[in-house]
């Protein structure tokens, strides 16, 4: 701005509201948009409380009994030990619960002193404990009350729970997780081998506190970059130099906060830049949103991200250390940590090499140091999916290498991996299964059983659940037979019902996981659990029934003979039980029924129907679902008669389930519809439709929808021939009512209308006038959605209207739709065009009203619409007209459309591009190829690759429809253009032409040879690649048609390209050579290949052998006469003459 420009105002400022907006923005600056998603990525934060119970599990070291036996050492922490610990834990749990119970009771009775103190006073504790002890069970006692409890118990203990073990344990092992002080952790190593890593406080490295680590790390800025102080230089740059003075601070002033040491802020840090190896976290860090953390670790290099939580695990490697002072073990530990950090947080290439290193060195590192580092990482609460996946992968690889060295860590690994088995993510479950299966193969069955046995009757249901799943994986890895004896024992356990429950659950999980692979062991598995149906514990009975259901489902349709033993208890059981266990029993019956012989099944069904009908009334959602499922399964069996269903099931079924309430819940809705459809298969359309057709006029819309969906499905699968005249009237009436009254926009009503009308066929003729007038009225509705639905309905009805001979109505609809083409909502417009297209399809181009010559010019401007649905409908209609009625439209109009079509080649949807390319073919057929071809060849000059590629395809299609002779000269001429894009485009077009015309290429082979000569000797790789593709199609087309001379010439030009290394080029060249084998015969090819098979240069040999191999695989028998006579190479015992070939008569 020049200085003499007059200034209008002294100063002006932005409007107030703008300033306010900026102020708001500034406040929002600290808002981190990634924070929410970051928490979602964390597995723990999105999982349920049940899933997160894994954090409260305790892991034990499991001694390797096999190794100990070999070495003759005593086992410490073996199975016995584990069982003892587990009992202790169970005891604690029970006492805790008892105390809670007691407290609650006291509170309820109003005796509690309501002193808001969460822990009741000690006196109360002791009182409770005494009371519990008095109430008969000896072992109910608080764990930390030191009392000589062992004396009382000693007599009861036998076998595994032996006296010696107790004596030894009583002194040493009476520690529990809660009362262990950190001081105990630091006792001499080796003395307490049972220390678990999980109960240690996170301050595992007290000498290095967490914050300083981050602060020391390179790249860390001491202040948040948005709130840091301005430097003097920056202030100088901002403030004017004149009129200001820097005031010295008043004497005695001491700043409250020590000003941070300002390292020179690099200029590049300011502003936005994308970091290498971008990850969400890295991007967030770059944007200054995430807290600043190091991405450079000494000895590790740059990482993709680094979380605050990582610092706590990797503290030891975050600072520089003098490596000479470290012991070998410490060095090893740091090495493992570095590798793990690289794997967990590194970029893919870094991760890959680190993973390979850790795998290779696994045995060197040893199981202990490795798992001590890996497992705590997996239990971190902020773990994300990607990290978990990588760590699990590490375990998998390491397991493979460690093999039986892994035994002492089996339980620890299981504690970490078992939760994966109940993860909601399918891939996590698969990963978990993989690990456990590898683990069981490495550790062996005996060790797995002794490790997991204590968890089978664990106090926590969560632990039992995951253990059962883990056991089923072990069974599938090592075979069901090997696990059967153990399963039998567990399922019959007398000691605790939990063990039986878990044992039966293992069988259930095996069935679910292995599917039909249980068939060979079906009888054994069923026998194993059959007694559970009469168990005294209700939970065990329920689980048994569920396991039987899973087994029957897995075995279907075989194996009924294995279930013989359980049929009676099951059928008796449904009369005895109520509630949950009844539901489970019914479920089992539902899955066993389809396995039965049709002769017997009807008896069993009659038995169960009584109960089912009684349970129709249930208010329990779960029971409702199971009842519906069983009814569906009953109806599907062969043995049940339509008569029985009609008389005994249907009346109650409809009374109980065809009520409005059922339509409100999504899952109930689906189940009722499915079951009704299944019942209809047996009882017939008329029976079902007759019962519900009146409900099409019900006042509740969701219910109408449910009725409509059922009718649709029934009619679609069984047809409408069953429906008599009176029902037909009610049905059509109901459908029209339901269609008109709908307020929500979904497909159900539309589909239903279309299906029913199409099924009725010519029988709807009397109703058509009414239906069409409905459509016409709705086409003028002011809601766009209503108009769209009316148009969609027209599309579906067009065929039926034509069948009924109501051409009058069709032409009326056609005209109204034509008038609607000015529609502004693209979705609606698309439907209208599609409807117009459907009418044009059924009436034909000549009878079409409006006439095609009016319709098409109206479509031309619509082609410019960018909406995909509109584009697709339009191009389909235009293509149809070009195919069937091109002569009704003037050539000039078609040319206009050609130009518009070029734009459609850019469409994202493949269907649109294909329709456009085909339309070029139709148009060229009616107009003659010249003009269309000119348009397409010119289009080869455009920028977008997709458009060019589509043009080449269109050229090839024009060549196919109008004959190659019309196109090939033009293409050859265009090839002389100096532009690279055009030349490759021409080559590509030729390649498609020869692919499409096949044997016809024989007439044109000689005319393209010179052009191919030029292309195959071009410097440009792509030229040679595309030319090779042409040669391939040409050679395959002319095989056996006497073009060997020119093909041999092309072969000589293609051959030298076999040394190309670019993958696409070498692929094309190899294919061309393969095609030559077909045309020229393998003998000719062999003579080429023989030149280099034993070439001194390996690179030559490799290529030639590859060609030889494809030649050999393609025509090994045909090569026999062409092998060279190498008899002169014979030496000593080896005679290389092929004598049989030298014989003659």
């Amino acid at each position: 701005m020049s200085s003499d420009t007059p200034r209008l105002v002294d100063s002006f400022t932005a409007p107030k509201e703008v300033l306010e907006e900026f102020a708001e923005l500034a406040e929002e600056e600290n808002y981190d948009p990634f924070a929410e998603t970051a928490s979602k990525r964390q597995i723990a934060s999105r999982q349920s409380d049940y899933h997160n119970r894994r954090f409260s599990r305790q892991a034990n070291e499991s001694a390797d009994a096999f190794k100990a036996a070999e070495e003759g050492t005593d086992i410490e922490g073996g199975y016995k030990e584990a069982m003892r610990l587990q009992r202790l834990e169970k005891e604690e749990e029970r006492v805790r619960r008892a105390i809670e119970e007691k407290e609650r009771e006291a509170r309820e009775e109003g005796q509690a002193k309501m002193d808001l103190d969460k822990t009741p006073p000690r006196a109360e504790f002791e009182e409770a404990a005494k009371e519990l002890a008095a109430s008969g069970t000896k072992r109910k006692r608080r764990w930390d009350v030191a009392e000589p409890i062992e004396e009382e118990n000693k007599e009861n203990q036998g076998g595994e729970w032996s006296k010696e073990a107790l004596d030894g344990a009583a002194t040493k092992k009476r520690r529990s997780r809660w009362d262990a002080t950190p001081a105990e952790v630091s006792t001499a190593p080796g003395e307490t081998p049972k220390r678990s890593r999980w109960d240690q406080a996170p301050a595992a490295a007290p000498d290095v506190p967490m914050t300083p680590i981050i602060m020391n790390a390179p790249g860390f800025m001491h202040e948040d970059k948005h709130n840091r102080y301005l430097t003097d230089e920056e202030l100088d740059a901002i403030l004017p130099t004149q009129g200001y003075a820097i005031v010295t601070p008043p004497p005695g002033y001491a700043p409250l906060v020590r000003p941070p040491k300002l390292s020179a802020t690099p200029i590049t840090e300011v502003g936005f830049h994308i970091q290498e190896g971008s990850d969400a976290a890295a991007v967030a860090a770059a944007a200054g949103l995430a807290p600043d953390l190091p991405t450079e670790i000494p000895g590790v290099g740059s990482l993709a991200f680094f979380k605050a939580e990582d610092a706590q695990y990797f503290a030891k490697i975050l600072k520089e250390e003098d490596e000479t002072e470290l012991s070998v073990d410490e060095m090893k530990e740091r090495k493992i940590m570095r590798l793990l950090l690289k794997i967990k947080n590194g970029t893919p290439p870094v991760r890959k090499t680190a993973l390979r290193q850790i795998t290779d060195k696994a045995r060197e590192f040893g199981a202990g140091p490795l798992f001590d580092k890996i497992l705590p990482l997996l239990m971190e609460r902020t773990l994300e999916d990607q990290e978990r996946h990588l760590l699990v992968k590490v375990i998998d690889r390491v397991l493979y290498k460690l093999d039986d060295l892994v035994r002492p860590y089996v339980h620890k690994i299981l504690v970490v991996i078992e939760p994966l088995l109940i993860d909601e993510d399918y891939y996590a479950r698969v990963e978990g299964r993989e690990i456990i299966s590898n683990l069981s193969k490495a550790a062996g069955l005996a060790h797995m059983i002794s490790t997991m046995r204590p968890d089978i009757d664990h106090a926590d249901e969560y632990v039992r659940n995951t253990t059962a799943r883990a056991f089923s994986v072990v069974a599938s890895a090592l075979g069901i037979p090997s696990l059967l004896p153990f399963l039998k024992a567990v399922c019959r356990s007398k000691k605790s019902w939990q063990a039986r429950h878990t044992g039966i659950r293992i069988v259930q999980q095996i069935a679910i996981m292995m599917g039909c692979a249980v068939l060979p062991h079906l009888r054994n598995l069923v026998d194993c659990i059959s007694h559970g149906l009469q168990d005294e514990q209700q939970k065990v009975r329920t689980m048994t029934a569920l396991a039987l259901a899973a087994l029957a489902e897995a075995a279907a349709p075989y194996g009924i003979e294995s279930f013989d033993n359980v049929l009676k208890p099951l059928w008796v059981g449904i009369r005895l039980h109520r509630g949950k266990s009844l539901a489970a029993f019914l479920k089992a019956i539902g899955f066993i029924l389809p396995l039965m012989d049709p002769e017997y099944v009807s008896y069993y069904i009659k038995e169960v129907t009584i109960i089912l009908i009684r349970e129709f009334q249930t208010s329990d959602e779960e029971m409702k679902k199971i009842v519906l499922k069983v009814v569906q399964q009953c109806a599907a069996t062969e043995g049940v008669t339509p008569q029985y269903i009609k008389q005994d099931i249907l009346p109650d079924f409809f009374k109980a389930f065809w009520v409005r309430r059922m339509a409100l819940d999504r899952r109930n809705y689906r189940q009722v519809v499915e079951t009704t459809v299944e019942l209809a298969q047996k009882s017939g359309v008329a029976e079902i439709v007759g019962r519900i057709v009146n409900d099409l006029k019900d006042e509740a819309e969701p219910y109408r929808k449910m009725v409509m969906e059922t009718i649709t499905k029934v009619v679609a699968s069984l047809g409408a021939s069953d429906i008599d005249e009176r029902l037909e009237v009610r049905l059509v009436d109901g459908i029209i009512y339901a269609f008109q009254e709908q307020t929500t926009e979904d497909q159900v009503m539309l589909d239903g209308f279309g299906t029913v009308v199409n099924a009725l066929g010519i029988r709807v003729k009397p109703y058509l006038t009414q239906i069409v007038s409905t459509i016409l009225w709705r086409l003028n509705n002011k809601s766009a959605k209503v108009r769209q639905q009316a148009a969609d309905l027209t599309t579906r009805l067009a065929v039926v209207i034509k069948q009924c001979g109501e051409d009058q109505l069709l032409s009326k609809l056609g005209l109204v739709l034509f008038e609607q083409l000015g529609e502004e909502y693209p979705d609606t417009l698309g439907s209208i065009i599609a409807a117009e297209g459907a009418i044009a399809n059924v009436v034909g181009m000549t009878q079409m009203n409006p006439p095609v010559k009016d319709l098409l010019p109206r479509m031309t401007p619509i082609l410019r619409n960018r909406h995909e649905k509109v584009q697709e409908a339009t191009i389909n209609l235009i293509g149809r007209i070009a195919d069937r009625g091109a002569e009704f439209v003037p050539a000039r109009e078609w040319m206009r459309i050609c130009f518009e079509l070029l734009d459609l080649l850019k469409a994202h949807k493949k269907g649109i591009r294909r329709a456009a390319v085909n339309s070029f073919g139709y148009i060229a057929k009616s107009l003659g190829p010249q003009d269309v071809l000119q348009v397409l060849l010119t289009n080869l000059r455009v920028q977008e690759r997709q458009s060019r590629v589509c043009s080449t395809v269109a050229i090839a299609i024009v060549a196919e429809t109008c004959g190659p002779f019309t196109c090939i000269p033009a293409i050859l001429n265009e090839y002389r253009t100096a532009e690279l894009n055009v030349r490759t485009g021409c080559l590509k077009a030729l390649s498609f032409v020869f692919e499409y015309v096949g044997p016809q290429s024989a007439y044109y082979a000689d005319s393209v040879v010179t052009m191919l000569e030029d292309a195959l000797t071009d410097r440009d790789l792509v030229h040679r690649q595309t030319a090779s593709t042409i040669v391939k199609h040409l050679a395959l087309g002319v095989a056996g048609l006497g073009c060997e001379d020119s093909m041999l010439h092309l072969m000589n030009l293609v051959w030298p390209n076999c040394f190309e290394t670019s993958p696409h080029v070498i692929g094309a060249v190899m294919e061309a050579i393969e095609a030559m084998r077909v045309t020229l015969g393998p003998g000719v090819l062999l003579s080429y290949v023989l030149q280099g098979l034993f070439h001194p240069a390996r690179k030559v040999r490799e290529v030639y052998w590859r060609i030889y191999n494809s030649l050999y695989l393609g025509a090994s028998d045909a090569l026999v006469p062409f092998y060279p006579d190498l008899g002169e190479l014979s030496e000593g015992q080896n005679v290389y003459d092929r004598h049989p070939l030298q014989m003659f008569v």
Partner: protein, 86 residues
């Protein structure tokens, strides 16, 4: 396979080839290659009955005998493998 081709689509081709007997590679010896040729020749004769009867006539043997001999010959058509040079 040369290193630059290791990661391309042709790897699959290479692997596919290696799965069949009779295919070769850059380090194939003369003996191995010729053994394959001989086996192919013999199996081709056994597989084409006209060729088999032609040889039977030329040899003055029964067709079955010739077929049997051809099949037997396939075991070591060019004699035992030469001693490996270290």
């Amino acid at each position: 396979m040369s290193s630059e081709l290791r990661y391309t689509a042709n790897t699959q081709l290479e692997h596919l080839h290696a799965r069949y007997t009779g295919t070769g590679h850059a380090d194939l010896t003369k003996y191995e290659w010729l053994t394959h040729q001989h086996r192919d020749t013999l199996s081709s004769i056994v597989g084409h009955p006209p060729l088999l009867s032609y040889l039977a006539i030329a040899d003055g043997e029964a067709v079955g005998r010739v077929k049997f001999e051809m099949t037997e010959r396939m075991l070591q058509p060019c004699g035992p493998p030469p001693a490996k040079e270290e």
